[in-house]
Symmetry: C2
């Protein structure tokens, strides 16, 4: 039997009762607080559940309470929204999404960005290092990643100012300075840590769901010309640190059970701490729109490394986790040209500009361009669940 | 006339009244709070100044108040500690350093690590990439840096558990897993951001002292074997993220006026935003001790890039600053073998084990080893000021 809510949920909605993603919203004239999306509404959790942990402008305090509590709250919200008898008490806690402002859903502790799509890594390798093997020797032995700037993770809708910086064309003898001319997106999936861990104690792959609270969409804006000049030998820095956008809704792991799939076949045996004991690949289909027209449909299920493997790797050296840690998958690119998660790949480094569905071509982002990333996945009861969207518009360099 | 305090300050003390570094301490039976070191004592600032901003377990709230306020407080503390008339009221706010516990002095927002010693970068380049030029083409055009893990920045004295991880000897066909066999230090100087900046707005080189509150010592523990296998192409990750230790005292920039020197001669013209308008090189002499014996004396004045240039670079793309951001200089190594800030360099990658002053040799750190870094600089009135110490002992892998 398909579970349904007494709250009307349009057929195309991202937010059926099988989803129940968490966010932070500001009602007209009210203070920011935690809510759950249902159809075209958001449920004020402090009001509906009478728990002050939700009367805050961030999910962190609730996320820190741990998996058992997350499951209790999810069960309670499901009951409230599906049992007509709760309607009289719960309905006053609903706000129309159209009437509220969605804010940054959590305070970011550390931000790590992985690089776990084989197709993306190989595409970038071919373009950045044309004379070498596209994948580095370590790539299939460990999920390559690096730390990004937590302080510039911004909520969906924040304008993205085109960054200035140093860039050196291959034939130039010295770098020049100015606005990035190769401004790009990276369509990624983000994982939000709820409960931390102790310094010195690795988190086992099997404990993934004890620590990770939920999933969001990430656009890791990238200035390819700045990145290309700066990134050797210590990795990306200013080419990435100007902004990273996240979607306002955090989809709980429990909403994604039906989306779990096996990751791609491995070419060779993995070291013990990375061996899959449970499948945490996710059958999530992303869509990238430029100025309203879809330009790509990256398939998350093609990612070589799962989020559980990323977590196990990130902590195997004893590095501790904190509530609010965000780690992103890396650009999601599938094997087909129409499945690439960056303009760098879609336009092959600018050599093959993308024909836009709305007319014209595009290699990299122009001022005024708006990029929106969405995603859907199979949910319980055969329904489709959605992730909302992460969007941002490019403002001219200052 | 040399300013002196009515608090007795031994001749060899790091903390004459010309220094006045800030830290967070816990008196026996009391709550953690902000203090200033003077000789062998710490002054409880909440008690001495009657300001609740200091009755907290972190410097962040005070640091966020900005430079004018930092200067007012410094002037007031100087008056309290030098004018005998204040002795009756201020003396009860003094605690003996021997009686208190020193804690993490601030909450770290983002942590960035630079790579600004030409001697260190060239030494590492020669060892990691023996077939290439030691310095990358970008190195003299911009201060190379990357983000590290803020959540594993720990206070001096925290035990350092030897990390496990993947490492692959050059002749092996696949990586192995186990405790790092090339555990190392990086002796660095850290800069702590007091006042933040707006997203999209670069911080000019000339505004360095408006944003940076003070200076501490940093030991950026590094597992060279893990780092060597993982770091291409996105930079260091698990080879660094297990721990970074900082000293308990933050020396205010105003205490370092007498230590300011011109940075080394530049080989070629810099882009405008990096051109030195004021000298922020610092004549700071560091000392590295292994198990009580000095093994190195890195001279900070030899750093190619200054902290002001690092700040201007870090924000030139519009990346914002937050109160509590920490950025470190990168390993400080001078031109002489006895001035190198890492064991990797001191033992030349293990090929020339270091003869220890106490007997025996050392290439990389062994379990039980204790590393302590100190530093001194010229202060006002011709006195010497010190930075206290950052120390840590290696525990066996788990």
């Amino acid at each position: 039997m398909t579970l349904t809510s007494w709250v009307p949920v349009p057929a195309e909605s991202d937010f059926p009762v099988q989803n129940l993603p968490y966010g932070v919203f500001e009602p007209a004239g009210g203070a920011a607080r935690v809510g759950v999306a249902i159809g075209e509404h958001v449920l004020d959790l402090a009001a509906a559940l009478g728990d002050e942990v939700f009367a805050r402008p961030s999910l962190n305090a609730f996320m820190a309470q741990g998996r058992r509590r997350w499951q209790e709250v999810r069960a309670r919200i499901t009951e409230l929204l599906t049992d007509e008898r709760h309607r009289p008490s719960a309905e006053p806690a609903l706000h129309r999404l159209a009437d509220v402002r969605l804010l940054m859903p959590f305070e970011v502790a550390d931000y790590v960005d992985f690089y776990s799509s084989e197709h993306h890594a190989a595409n970038i390798g071919r373009m950045f290092r044309p004379d070498s093997e596209p994948l580095m020797p370590n790539w299939k032995h460990l999920p390559v990643g690096y730390h990004g700037r937590a302080g510039t993770v911004v909520p969906s809708g924040t304008p993205i100012v085109r960054p200035n910086g140093q860039r050196k064309p291959p034939q130039a003898t010295a770098p020049g300075f100015g606005p990035s001319q190769r401004l790009d997106i990276e369509a990624e999936v983000g994982f939000v840590v709820g409960t931390g861990s102790e310094l010195g104690e690795p988190v086992a792959l099997a404990d993934f769901a004890e620590h990770v609270f939920g999933v969001c969409l990430v656009n890791d804006w990238s200035a390819r010309d700045i990145q290309a000049w700066e990134y050797v030998p210590l990795g990306p820095f200013l080419g990435k640190s100007f902004a990273t956008s996240v979607s306002p809704w955090i989809v709980p792991l429990d909403a994604l059970e039906a989306a779990r799939v096996a990751p791609p076949e491995r070419d060779h045996e993995l070291l013990g701490y990375l061996r899959d004991r449970a499948d945490w690949g996710l059958d999530l289909t992303m869509r990238v729109r430029l100025n309203g027209h879809q330009v790509s449909e990256p398939p998350f299920a093609t990612m070589y490394w799962t989020a559980a493997q990323q977590l196990a790797h990130m902590t195997v050296n004893g590095a501790s986790l904190r509530t609010g840690d965000l780690y992103a998958s890396g650009t999601v690119s599938g094997p087909e040209p129409g499945q690439r998660g960056s303009f760098m790949e879609l336009s092959w480094g600018g050599k093959e500009p993308l024909e836009l569905p709305g007319g014209g071509t595009r290699s990299f982002l122009e001022d005024g361009d708006e990029v929106t990333i969405t995603a859907t996945a199979p949910g319980a009861d055969g329904v489709r669940i959605g992730f909302g969207e992460v969007t941002g518009r490019i403002e001219p360099a200052r």
